[in-house]
Amino acid sequence: MRRIISVLMENEPGALSRVVGLFSQRGYNIESLTVAPTEDETLSRLTLVTIGDDHKIEQVTKNLNKLIDVVKLVDLTEGSHIERELLLVKVRATGAQRDEVKRSVDIFRGQIVDVTSNMYTLQVAGTGEKLDAFLQALGEHTIMEVVRSGVSGIARGEKVLSV
């Protein structure tokens, strides 16, 4: 099963390498990983997507919790949550293609964030599935470069991950 685990950890050098190291050391998968400091500058928030059965995920969270730098974590997929990923994509856009691309961007509620005479740079945010669908809609031949941020997530409702 795909899980999104959000981790609050000390904003210390080496903390990230400990988390990443744990995954390679114990043979767990990381599908994606995002990390940035939080509004409390002593803390970083790391969101990772991993795949495994319940037993594996239990071991992942237990071992993450064991890391001294990890303050708190939550498996967002256990409850209702919002997940977002940011996609930036450069597409070839000339002639009639320009309108067609613009329509697709509108349908997926994205934006054109940079323009040259031959290319558009597009931005779309959403779930991984939505981004996959958008890329499919664009068609392979127009895509020049793709960058995805990896998943970020937050629980719905009044549940809060904080210290």
């Binding site: 237990k62 064991k66 001294i68 730098d69």
Partner: protein, 578 residues
């Protein structure tokens, strides 16, 4: 406030932490720290001959005392040489603080002379690590390092100290913190009382119970409580390799060790058990054999201080997270006040069954090795040493056949007496560990059981024994081959002895011991075994190297059948299988 340099601060912080002993080896990046050590009196420093020896000695000291072992090494090769010993301590959950010198901060990352990324190298084998960025951080980092190393599931902590941080040129106000607050680290304390109550109910309903106790009971100082509980219930106890001494070896309820070279009765009882109380044990692969075939009819109660150990390989029916001492203490209180009693008639039947297994193949009911040949059997050497030392020695060991013979045939009545590298299986551990134990207990007999293979992996520490006058006994079960490797090659590779023999290249260990200023004793025939052992053990003020030539063809049995075997599938001899 007092002003101190970073180097002085580090040493003072160690003193304030109660450290009186460091094992180490100096070098460029650590020289400011070594100068600070020279200018103080509170801490004794033991100069080893190789950094691996320092970590094993500190490890042995920690296992024998329960205190944190402290190591000081320099950067680069000093740090990497310490890695094996750090990994050894990590696998066996031993509290240790390793201070490594590092190149100056402004040189880090430039591939400077003797630079190595110690925090990176050690990351997978430490409980935690610190890189000091400024001298002011030192007192709190030291305090945190000792706290982390010694609480929860203990383990090694590295403090990497760049040379500039310890410079005598800069001084800073020094104050050792009295308290620590760490929001990200809360070691487990008491177990959940509801879970403990459920565990008691299951335990009392058992018809074929086994208590399976591991190294956590030794390290967590739970041996007395465990013993009282087992005796009160009259339930059989088996110990893991790491747990030997957690329950008295000479108690009639002791089944012996379990696992790959466990006794027939311990492994068979586990296989047929209906309730297993696992305490401070982690269902290691050398214990469970094939997990899917492990103890098919059993329900498991698992007590451990580390939640990640619970249900890792074998799913616990009643998990209890907490310190062994607190949980066993609560269990004992509940048992005392409980109206329910164990099912006496079922327990009597269970004991009858176990005694039958003991009679059939137990290693304590009759010798299961040859007693009439000309060659010395390794098992009888261990038995003889057990008798001579009245079962009260501290025994360290290396890794291989000798380790298993010692574990099987030296019965430990007390915890912290059996000191071996169980998890990592580090050859070379025994001698330096013995030196650490001897420093902790100078009046006690300390025996390093080793083989001619393992001893050569850290033999340089014979020189440390000379310098600090550490009269330990080195008992070398010399079978002129890497015995355990050879045993596997004979059993699984049709006897192709690939690189497990030395072809007449072994040194004369007697002369070698003498060259270091020690006493060497060679024992080659059965007739002289007992007399010569008695003579050797009568020497109390010298290090004695006892080189015993044992039957090179002997194997360690029982040995579980693998792969795909269950607990009860064992080879009992070269020709007999369960």
């Amino acid at each position: 406030m007092e002003l101190l340099s970073g180097g002085d601060m580090l040493v003072r912080a160690l003193q304030d932490e109660g450290v009186d002993l460091i094992f180490g080896y100096p070098g460029g990046s650590a020289l400011h720290i070594y100068d600070a050590i020279f200018r103080q009196k509170g801490i004794k420093h033991v100069l080893v001959r190789h950094e691996q020896g320092a970590t094993h000695a500190a490890d042995g000291y920690a296992r024998a005392t329960g205190k944190v072992g402290v190591v000081l090494v320099t950067s680069g090769p000093g740090a990497t040489n310490a890695i094996t010993g750090i990994a050894t301590a990590y696998m066996d959950s031993i509290p240790m603080v390793v201070i490594s010198g590092q190149v100056p901060s402004d040189k880090i990352g430039e591939d400077a002379f003797q630079e190595t990324d110690m925090v990176g190298c050690s990351r997978p084998i430490v409980k935690h690590s610190f890189l000091v960025k400024s001298a002011e951080e030192i007192p709190e980092m030291v305090k945190k390092a000792f706290y982390i190393a010694s609480t929860g599931r203990p383990g090694p902590v590295v403090i990497d100290v760049p040379k500039d941080v310890t410079s005598p040129a800069d001084r800073f106000p020094y104050q050792y913190p009295e308290k620590l607050r760490m929001r990200s680290y809360t070691p487990a304390g008491k177990g959940h009382s509801g879970q403990i109550r459920k565990a008691i109910a299951l335990l009392l309903s058992a018809k074929r119970p086994v208590i399976y106790a591991g190294g956590g009971v030794v390290q967590g100082d739970g041996a007395e409580l465990l013993t009282e509980i087992a005796r009160r219930l009259n339930y059989p106890v088996t110990n893991t390799l790491m747990g030997l001494g957690a329950f008295p070896g000479s108690d009639k309820r002791f089944l012996g060790m379990l696992g790959m070279h466990g006794t027939f009765e311990a492994n068979t009882a586990m296989h047929h058990a209906d309730v297993i109380l696992a305490v401070g044990a982690r269902f290691d692969d050398r214990v469970t054999n094939t997990p899917s075939k492990f103890c098919p009819g059993a329900k498991f109660i698992h007590i451990d201080v580390d939640p990640a150990s619970i249900s890792k390989t074998i799913v616990a029916d009643i998990p209890i997270v907490g310190t062994v001492q607190s949980v066993l203490g609560d269990m004992l209180e509940m048992l005392k006040s409980s109206e329910d009693q164990p099912d006496q008639s079922a327990i009597v039947d269970w004991w009858r069954q176990i005694d039958d297994w003991r009679e059939r193949h137990g290693i304590y009911t009759a010798p299961r090795y040859r007693t009439d040949g000309a060659l010395i059997m390794p098992q009888e050497v261990i038995r003889a040493v057990y008798d001579i030392t009245e079962g009260d020695a501290f025994v360290t060991s290396d890794v291989g056949q000798h380790q298993m013979f010692a574990a099987q045939y030296y019965l430990f009545d007390k915890p912290r007496r059996w000191i071996n590298s169980g998890g990592l299986g580090t050859m070379g551990f025994g001698l330096p560990a013995a030196l650490g134990v001897k420093i902790a207990h100078p009046e006690k007999e300390v025996v390093c059981v080793t083989g001619e293979g393992s001893i050569q992996m850290c033999i340089q520490e014979l020189s440390t024994a000379t310098q600090y006058h550490l009269p330990v006994k080195i008992l070398c079960l010399n079978n002129q081959a890497l015995g355990m490797v050879k045993q596997w090659q004979e059993m699984q590779y049709e006897g192709r002895l690939s690189n497990s023999v030395y072809e007449e290249s072994l040194p004369d260990f007697v002369k070698l011991a003498e060259a270091y200023g020690h006493v060497g004793v060679k024992i080659e025939s059965r007739e002289e075994l007992h007399d010569k052992l008695h003579e050797a053990f009568a020497i109390r003020d010298r290090t004695v190297f006892i080189d015993v030539y044992v039957d090179p063809s002997e194997h360690v049995y029982p040995m579980q059948v693998m792969p795909n075997g269950s607990m009860r599938d064992m080879w009992l001899s070269k020709t007999e299988r369960t």
